[in-house]
């Protein structure tokens, strides 16, 4: 039974620190306590625990624009976060953890704000069939965690730009993202703010457990050295990229020199193998392209003779 609520809001938008706070709170989980943590990230593609970072988002475009890629320790697909998105995290002991109950706190908060939100499948909350909240879960023998997004006024064009909603066929080991039709709360109510959503979530939780004691925490109440240590773990490029960075790309395109079926095997940003099946008459030129593509780093200066291939791949990925 829940007899204590712990409520905390992140004070910054730096994704790795916000993840560090979440993980720290998970480690503090005690029987009888429910923690609600509210946080937002600046320009971040947030990938699932077992996803391939390279095949799930346009890494180079994102980092060039000053965005972040972060890997969460829960599963599922890639989502985009910015200041227009609020994240909530419920943490409780396994014996107190109840996903249906947590969802009802969330949908109750939405109803209080005038939104007819309902659960769709096991992970999504929708309004009018449009997903505005994706949810994911982690379970250990003791502590459990349920976190989700709330799209309030996220930049739709950034979602399109940074997430691979791709016409290119990508082959990678790992969990694939599924494209969803998404909606912002602001599409239904223009004046809604993250602040109001956060307050509504807190009120909904408090009225669910009216007899529980309440503790409102600030970041300053947490052990700073531990938070910094965890922040460094989440920011570590090896953790974010993962240990399996190989993936394949396949696409077809009609070039001036012929129709080409292109297969590229990547290791991170570097092309390890290239094969072009083509009806081009100049087979020598196609073989030269294959040779130049092999070993090319797509984030560096590209040889003009293979620019067409790299550019169509980029354009199709977008």
């Amino acid at each position: 039974m829940i007899n204590k609520l712990k409520i905390i809001r992140a004070e910054g938008l730096y994704p790795y620190r916000n993840q560090a706070i979440e993980k720290y709170l998970l480690g503090c989980c005690k029987k009888g306590e429910m923690t609600l943590y509210l946080w937002a990230n600046d320009k971040t593609v947030f990938i699932g625990k077992n996803q391939n970072a390279y095949s799930e988002c346009r890494l180079s475009a994102l980092t060039a624009d000053g965005g972040y890629v972060a890997r969460r320790f829960t599963g599922g697909g890639a989502v985009y976060h910015d200041k227009g998105n609020l994240n909530f995290t419920f943490i409780a002991d396994r014996t107190d953890f109840d996903i249906a109950n947590q969802f009802s706190v969330m949908t109750g908060a939405m109803r209080a704000l005038g939104f007819e939100a309902r659960l769709n499948g096991r992970n999504d909350v929708v309004i009018d069939g449009k997903k505005f909240s994706g949810n994911a879960f982690y379970k250990s023998e003791t502590a459990c965690l349920h976190h989700g997004t709330v799209l309030i006024g996220t930049d739709y064009s950034a979602i399109e730009k940074y997430l691979n909603v791709s016409r290119v066929k990508l082959n990678a080991k790992g969990v694939k993202s599924v494209k969803s039709r998404v909606g912002n709360l602001r599409d239904y109510r223009a004046d809604i703010t993250s602040e109001q959503v956060a307050d509504a979530l807190i009120s909904a939780l408090e009225s669910r457990y009216p007899h529980a004691s309440r503790e409102y925490l600030k970041e300053g109440d947490l052990p700073e050295t531990e938070i910094q240590r965890l922040t460094a773990e989440f920011a570590d490029p090896d953790y974010v990229r993962g240990d399996d960075v190989r993936y394949g790309v396949e696409f077809e395109y009609r070039y001036e020199w012929g129709v080409a079926d292109v297969r590229l095997d990547f290791n991170g940003d570097v092309i390890e193998r290239a094969k072009i099946y083509s009806d081009a008459l100049d087979t020598g030129a196609v073989e030269l392209k294959e040779r130049l593509l092999t070993g090319a780093d797509v984030t560096k200066t590209i040889d003009p003779r293979i620019k067409d291939i790299i550019e169509t791949m980029g354009a199709l990925k977008r």
Binding site: G48, K49, N50, F73, T74, G75, R122, A136, F137, Y138, K139, S140, E141, K173, G174, V175
Partner: protein
Amino acid sequence: MKILFRESHEWAAIEGKTAKIGISDHAQKELGDLVFINLPEVGAEVKAGDVLCDVESVKAVSDLYAPVSGKVIKVNEELESSPELINQDAMGAWICEIEVTDVPADLMDEAAYKDFIKG
């Protein structure tokens, strides 16, 4: 061979000095369809009760615990590309093999485990 279960729903099939490790049919039903498994590393020394590896299902990421202590000597690489084999045959789809140094006394035999999950 002797099959013992941990309260967190892993099994150990002990034969001589080694044990194959997996999760119970009850656990696979609770987890739902598995989409990914991070196998333990060969050579890793584990203590009973330590996190052995983790799995991602359509519902959640969940930690799995070592039912016995010892050294991981083999992993079932087939599961990397087909984690659903655990859903299809949980008692057959072993995750890893451990060279056993200690078997905790609180593991349950199949009859006791069946009672345990009935609650």
